[in-house]
């Protein structure tokens, strides 16, 4: 940890965030005040609080200061992020097979920073033991449909977690978990630089931009491959349907199904939709029957007209009341 050059800065004066103290002496207080003591716990939950010190990247990139506008650096240069963890409780998530998340060596951690990668977790927990695997649960159902892109060309860029994400950390052996639960307070820092971590920011966007413009030949091949599989599946479906058609069921009936391709849903079912109301409305009357031939027709028409008059009258009254309510009569 000491290998990295760090400046311990922190904000002393909350009332005036524009003044930032660079004082070295108070710097360690942020995480290191109770250095050596066990981690604090959130009462009645069993969750331990893991403070991680996060440094502004402009602190590390000294080359940025060459930029004229980098003189604006009013933001907190150091801040603390709080993760919370405890041992994995298999009852909470009954679906999880205990072989995937064995209770005795799995740690449940929550409120991860959005840019968390396996490398970051390794960095924090390597002191406890070897980590077998990490399962992120970043994606929530509220994620939009086109963001859960599968098989996208963008695969390989860094996945971002949503704020407050959770993860399961499975240690190689139960000792790792025990060590983790007995972690003591000390300074832990977040920022790490590693060639293996895909970049963020401008580099990442450039990368994405390029990836979306991949070689058309390769893209074409992928599309062809997909379509080949798709056609095959369609064939299969068709065959199955075909097969079912001529099979009498247990009562000896043969199900008659349409062969028309067009009215079949994506899943092969048929939907019958009614004609839309406004289409019907706009249809020209087909037969021009006389509307004022019989007496009852004329009587009907009179009745309708009266009703319409009454309706209009009511409408007017309402309109007037509305206008009055909105106090629309003040000319100045």
């Amino acid at each position: 940890m000491g290998s990295k050059k760090k400046k311990n800065k922190h904000q002393q004066n909350d009332k005036n965030p524009h003044i930032i103290s660079n004082s070295e002496s108070s710097g360690d207080n942020i995480c290191g005040e109770n250095s050596g003591q066990p981690l604090e716990e959130i009462p009645k939950t069993g969750f331990k609080i893991l403070p991680i010190e996060i440094e502004s990247i402009s602190n590390q990139n000294d080359n940025l200061s060459a930029n004229p506008s980098s003189s604006i650096k009013h933001h907190p240069l150091v801040s603390i992020h709080y993760c919370y963890f405890k041992s994995h409780d298999p009852r909470i998530n009954t679906r999880d097979n205990s072989t995937i998340l064995p209770a005795e060596r799995t740690l449940f951690i929550t409120n991860l920073p959005v840019d968390t990668t396996e490398h970051h977790i390794q960095n924090i927990f390597e002191e406890c033991g070897i980590i077998d695997r990490i399962l992120f649960h970043g994606k929530k159902k509220k994620q939009k449909f086109n963001e859960t892109a599968e098989n996208s060309v963008l695969e390989g860029s860094r996945n971002l977690l949503i704020p407050g994400s959770t993860a399961h950390i499975v240690f190689k052996d139960s000792e790792g978990l025990t060590n983790a639960l007995n972690m003591v307070q000390k300074k832990r820092i977040w920022n790490i630089r590693d060639q293996d971590i895909p970049p963020l920011g401008l580099k990442r966007w450039l990368q994405e931009y390029q990836k979306l413009r991949t070689d058309p030949n390769k893209l074409g091949a992928q599309v062809d491959e997909y379509m080949r599989k798709f056609e095959e599946a369609e064939q299969e479906k068709h065959k199955a349907l075909e097969a079912r058609r001529n099979q009498p069921d247990e009562d000896g009936f043969i199900l008659v199904t349409g062969t028309g391709k067009r009215n079949i849903n994506t899943d092969g079912t048929i939907t019958v939709t009614a004609v839309k109301a406004d289409v019907v409305k706009n249809l020209k009357p087909k037969n021009k029957e006389l509307v004022d031939f019989y007496r009852f027709q004329m009587r009907e028409a009179k009745r309708e007209k009266l009703a319409e008059l009454r309706k209009k009258f009511e409408d007017d009254k309402r309109k007037i009341a509305d206008l009055k309510a909105a106090r629309r009569f003040k000319p100045y």
Binding site: H74, L212, F230, I320, L323
Partner: protein
């Protein structure tokens, strides 16, 4: 309810219902009139304090003492020393050696005149006036006093004595005594009594005391329009009437004469009006309505020094029409008319009567030469003679003023006659007199002249009209009346009053931007010399294409923005040439905003070539047409094209900047290239798969094919296929085409099948909620992109062609929204609809004729529209106008219903806060702006309008660019971006070219990751060899690459629950962040909160780290509560923008 609709009716009910329908509009109108009248009328039960003052006045006047005659010097010094009053003598001031004496005797009578006793008085913005006429006794005047201002000097003295008395007794009256000039005419000073403000709840009134004289004091013959009553020697040799010159050869003094006559006929007019108001029941109500109408248009009030028209003249006009003025000598109005009919009838007459050719006489003294029609028309611009046949009531009205009044009256008639809409609001409730909104162009001039009436109101507009010809429909002159003054000070004059005069222009949009003014042939010598006299050096002789040789004036312009300035150039040129008004003497408001939509001149040509904008949008339109032709001619595509549609602001004249072709030689990637969206559609085919994902894949296959065929068949074109190739129902894929005309198009395939399948998926009963939501969202997106936007593009295109200034209005409005960091909070289409509304529904004004006024009117619309309760219906296709059938009403009702449902279903007002529905069925402004943003938009618009007022009214040096500088004080956090890495920085409103140079360097030296065979090959794309290699260019020209957009996209995905982000996408270098207030309400800790949390206790720990005792009890309670860990989030935001963010400013 439904049942009772069919109950058998009674006779009365049928009668009542029928009337309601037959008089539907007027019934609703009538109701609105009643409401308005009750709003503006005076509560006559509250007039006790006013009546008290009037009674006291009576007493004072009855008991006033006569004064002995004084010489002028004695009179002056007596009033000044004893009472501190300066006699309000008109200019020219009487000399001190005048022989005649000044006398004062008790007034013989006094009357209440004007609207107050007639009970037709209304409240205006400045309260109301109560006029008291004081009849001066005959014996203080001499027979010849009508000559050489003697009457006016004596009148001024009389008034001064009255005011001295009132001031002295004023303690009991509790009023403030001031002088004013009646109708801005300094010859006729009056006394104004304003109650001191100790009774605040009482009526806001001013008592005006007008000294008058009996009708038989002077011979009316002597005061006829053609007589001269000011002898030139008067000023040198006062009192001596010269004999050497024949009196008849002197120029007539009609204004002077009328001023005396008006004092003589005051009471007789009152009698006439009183009689008419007794005969015609609705007379007073009609007067009140008319006064509201006039007041809203700035006619007849204090701010009106120019019109010569007011409520009194309107009443006289109505009297005239009650007895005549109709067809074949009949009556235009009848005593039994309703107030509505009276106003409409009078308005019709005012709008359409040709006052110049057919002067109006209430009474014609046929036998008299002195008061013949000729005598009036020769000496006055406009003639409307009163019931005596002697006084021209339009004596102060110029032709220019008449035109403006008639213009307003014509608009009013249009509103009265409109069947489809109820224009009550535009007629009576909206303030029309707003200089910045009313005219297409405005010029401001300091009133530096003795009397603006002569020079400005009469001559200048006529000269300008000669030069502007049919470029303008109307030239107007506006200036206020002289302000009132305290009795002790010198009377003000127009020269020193610091008043401003405005010349307003209403354009004829078809002609206003004409490049050439054609004159007569040089052979027609008189006409040609007149033409040259008008234009001076600008006039030249040219031979035209049709072979004719003509005198002409040619206006050279660069680009469409400059074309809009031709009128202003003509006005400034003519004023300078003929009146020597130049430079700072006149301020002209029109082109000040144009620089906002033209990138700065300092920008390197390789980025934006300013010379290219001469053609406006023509270049891009041609490039598009060419591309369409190429598509249609394209071979080797499995399906034929059935349609290609434009879907971009660039193709509907509404992109802020005029699109420019990419510079040929430079291959720099440093600046943003805006792709122009187009939609292509193939002919129907049954071979598309019935699966959404498969359709996406097929589309990609088509894109690949299109790309290779386009490049092959049309050399010089480069096409890039862009696809994320994900297995989703709607994936992002398109081709970017750099056409051979060097414009970049982004082309997407529209397949109707997708819409059908999505629709089916939504309606499928087996779909679960999640799928339905997903499909609905996808369907909305597809419909918008492929159906609504192309249609919208076509509609806006048509409107912009029809009304040329609409384009600039939209561009300015868009720029305004984006400079206020609202780019992503409103849709461009929404802005376009909003701006079009100003043209489609321009009332109460004319349709805007310049981008300047169009833009300001959009701001006005934002502030004045009742967004919360009303859906704005924009008739982009102008269906409401064209179709005769009434199905449009249905259409409107549909939109209203949709809006109502939206409001009803959304209790917390999250959606549709600025809802706009179009008659063609699309709706805008539903998802955004949000409530917070909507309020901010309104606030910003309001303060922008105030600032515009200030700029036009007060400032000498106008800094209009400041309208586009946004206040940053409301943001919690400001993210500063590196301008040299913002690809759109060149569009910044205050661009600093230092960064652009930097920009090029820093971007081209960036390592670009080129993905090949899954290996990241680092390539340095420094294009040292400028060889025209298309393949390389294709990669280097990063069409549509805007890192800010990527960044914001990421931020919104992650933090839309906790913060709002604000940015100007047109070159902005900051992102404003506002935390949502809910983040700071402590809430209990949970394992899964979806925010980056911090325990409240931790914050307190940090705060009082320096040793204050912890209150443990308290802590326990709060131990489990969390809030947003803003500091950690700020650092996360910074990490996400690595290499791009230069600093984050935490402000709150």
């Amino acid at each position: 309810m439904e049942y009772s609709m069919y109950q058998p009716p009674t006779n009365e009910e049928i009668q009542g219902l029928k009337e309601t329908t037959d008089l539907y509009k007027s019934n609703l109108f009538k109701f609105q009139i009643d409401e308005l009248l009750s709003e503006v009328s005076i509560d006559f039960s509250k007039t006790t304090s006013l009546e008290n003052i009037l009674h006291k006045l009576k007493e004072i006047f009855e008991n006033i003492n006569d004064q002995s005659d004084l010489s002028i010097t004695d009179a002056k010094s007596m009033l000044l020393k004893k009472h501190g009053i300066t006699i309000p003598f008109p200019d020219p001031q009487p000399s001190d050696d005048v022989k005649y004496k000044f006398g004062f005797k008790k007034p013989t009578a006094f009357y209440l005149v004007g609207s107050y006793p007639l009970k037709s008085v209304i409240r205006s913005r400045n309260g109301f006036n109560v006029d008291v006429v004081v009849i001066m006794p005959k014996d203080i005047f001499q027979e010849k006093d009508y000559m050489n201002y003697r009457y006016f000097y004596k009148r001024a003295y009389y008034l001064a004595i009255l005011s001295a008395t009132l001031q002295y007794k004023g303690l009991a009256l509790n009023v403030n005594v001031e002088f004013g000039a009646l109708f801005g005419d300094r010859r006729r000073p009056i006394i104004l009594l304003k109650p001191l403000e100790n009774n605040s709840d009482a009526l806001d009134f001013t008592i005006r005391i007008l000294p008058c004289i009996p009708m038989d004091l002077f011979s009316t013959q002597r005061l006829s329009p053609s007589r001269n009553n000011i002898r030139p020697q008067h000023f040198q040799d006062l009192g001596q009437i010269p004999q050497q010159q024949s009196v008849d050869s002197l120029p007539p003094t009609p204004q002077y004469n009328s001023a005396i006559l008006r004092d003589m006929y005051c009471v007789s007019h009152l009698n006439l009006l009183y009689k008419n108001s007794k005969d015609c029941l609705a007379f007073n109500d009609a007067c009140k309505l008319a006064k509201v109408w006039l007041h809203q248009r700035g006619i007849g009030g204090d701010e009106d020094g120019w019109s010569g028209f007011n409520g009194f003249v309107w009443k006289m006009l109505m009297c005239y029409l009650l007895h005549g003025g109709g067809v074949n000598g009949g009556k235009k109005l009848a005593n039994g008319y309703s107030s509505y009919q009276l106003v409409k009838g009078t308005m019709d007459f005012l709008a359409n009567h040709d006052f110049i050719r057919n002067p109006v006489f209430m009474n014609k003294l046929e036998e008299s030469d002195e008061f013949s029609e000729k005598s009036f028309t020769e000496n006055f611009d406009v003639v409307f003679v009163d019931n005596s046949g002697i006084l021209n009531l339009f004596c102060r009205m110029t032709k220019t003023a008449l035109e403006q009044i008639q213009h307003e009256a014509r608009i009013a008639m249009e509103y009265f006659n409109e069947n489809k809409a109820d224009r009550f609001e535009a007629l009576f409730l909206q303030k029309v007199n707003d200089i910045k909104l009313r005219y297409d162009n405005v010029a401001k001039q300091k009133l530096d002249y003795h009397d603006p009436f002569i020079l400005f109101a009469r001559t200048i507009p006529i000269q300008l009209k000669q030069g502007l010809t049919n470029r303008v429909n109307l030239i107007t002159i506006n200036y206020p009346q002289l302000p009132t003054w305290s009795t002790s000070s010198e009377p003000p004059s127009y020269s020193f009053s610091n008043l401003k005069l405005y010349i307003g222009f209403i354009f004829n949009p078809e002609q206003s931007n004409r490049l050439i003014d054609y004159g007569p042939s040089p052979e027609d010598e008189t006409a040609a010399s007149e033409f040259r006299k008008l234009w001076g050096k600008k006039a030249e002789v040219r031979r035209f294409k049709d072979g004719s040789i003509l005198e002409c004036v040619v206006w050279n312009v660069k680009g469409i923005e400059e074309r809009c300035l031709i009128v202003s150039r003509i006005v400034q040129y003519l004023l300078n040439l003929h009146y020597g008004i130049k430079g700072k003497g006149i301020q002209y408001f029109t082109g000040q905003l144009n620089e906002i939509v033209i990138p700065s001149t300092n920008i390197p040509k390789s980025i934006y070539n300013k010379n290219g904008i001469v053609n406006g949008f023509r270049d891009v339109m041609q490039a598009y047409d060419k591309l369409v032709k190429q598509f249609m001619a394209l071979e080797n595509i499995p399906l034929r094209f059935s349609g290609i549609r434009a879907a971009s602001p660039a193709l509907r004249y509404t992109s802020i900047f005029i699109p420019q072709p990419l510079a040929l030689t430079t291959t720099n990637i440093s600046h943003y290239i805006d792709p122009i969206e187009i939609i292509i559609q193939f002919e129907h085919s049954a071979r598309w798969p019935d699966d959404l994902i498969a359709i996406q894949k097929m589309k990609i296959a088509f894109y690949i094919r299109l790309a290779s065929e386009l490049e092959l068949q049309f050399p010089g074109t480069c096409v890039t296929v862009v696809a994320d190739n994900s297995d989703t129902i709607i994936s992002e894929a398109y081709v970017d085409i750099l056409s051979d005309s060097r414009f970049t198009f982004r082309c997407r395939i529209y397949n109707e099948r997708e819409i059908t399948l999505l629709d089916r998926g939504i309606k499928d009963k087996k779909s679960n909620q999640l799928k339905k939501e997903m499909y609905t969202k996808a369907l909305e997106r597809e419909k918008r992109m492929f159906v609504e936007i192309p249609m919208h593009t076509l509609q806006i295109q048509t409107l912009c062609n029809k009304w040329p200034s609409l384009s600039l209005t939209i561009r300015l409005t868009k720029r305004w929204f984006s400079t206020h960091l609202l780019s992503d909070h409103v849709d461009e289409e929404w802005i376009e609809c909003l701006s079009s509304q100003v043209y489609l529904e321009p009332c109460p004004w004319n349709r805007p004729g310049s981008g300047f006024v169009g833009f300001l009117r959009v701001l006005k619309l934002i502030t004045s529209w009742d967004w919360n309760n009303e859906a704005m219906i924009v008739d982009l296709s102008e269906e409401n106008k064209s179709s005769l059938k009434n199905n449009t009403n249905e259409n409107n009702e549909d939109i209203k219903l949709r809006f109502k449902n939206l409001r009803a279903s959304d209790g917390s007002c999250k959606y549709g806060l600025m809802f706009i529905g179009t008659t063609s069925g699309s709706a805008w402004g539903i998802e955004k702006p949000s409530k917070v943003v909507a309020n901010r938009i309104k606030d910003l618009a309001r303060s922008a309008l105030l600032y515009a007022d200030e700029l036009i009214d007060k400032r000498e040096n106008s800094e209009f660019k400041r309208l586009f500088v946004t206040p940053l004080s409301d943001y919690d956090v400001i993210i500063h971006l590196d301008p040299s890495k913002c690809t759109r920085y060149y569009q910044n409103i205050f661009v600093d070219t230092q960064y652009l140079a930097h920009n090029k360097k820093s971007m081209s030296s960036l390592k670009i990751y080129n993905i090949e065979d899954d290996d990241i090959v680092m390539r340095d794309v420094k294009m040292q060899d400028h060889e025209e290699n298309l393949k390389k260019e294709k990669m280097v020209a990063m069409i549509g690459f805007d890192p800010v957009e990527y960044y914001l996209d990421e931020l919104r995905k992650l933090y839309s629950d906790v913060a709002l982000f604000f940015h100007d996408k047109h070159g902005g270098t900051i992102i404003g962040v506002v935390w949502k207030p809910t983040n700071f309400t402590p809430r209990p800790w949970k394992a899964n909160t979806e925010i980056n949390s911090i325990l409240v206790s931790k914050i307190e720990n940090l705060k009082d780290q320096k040793g204050s005792e912890h209150d443990t009890n308290n802590n326990n309670l709060r131990d489990q509560n969390i809030v947003l860990n803003t500091k950690a989030v700020v650092l996360e935001i910074e990490r996400l923008g690595e290499g791009f963010v230069t600093g984050i400013e935490v402000r709150k």
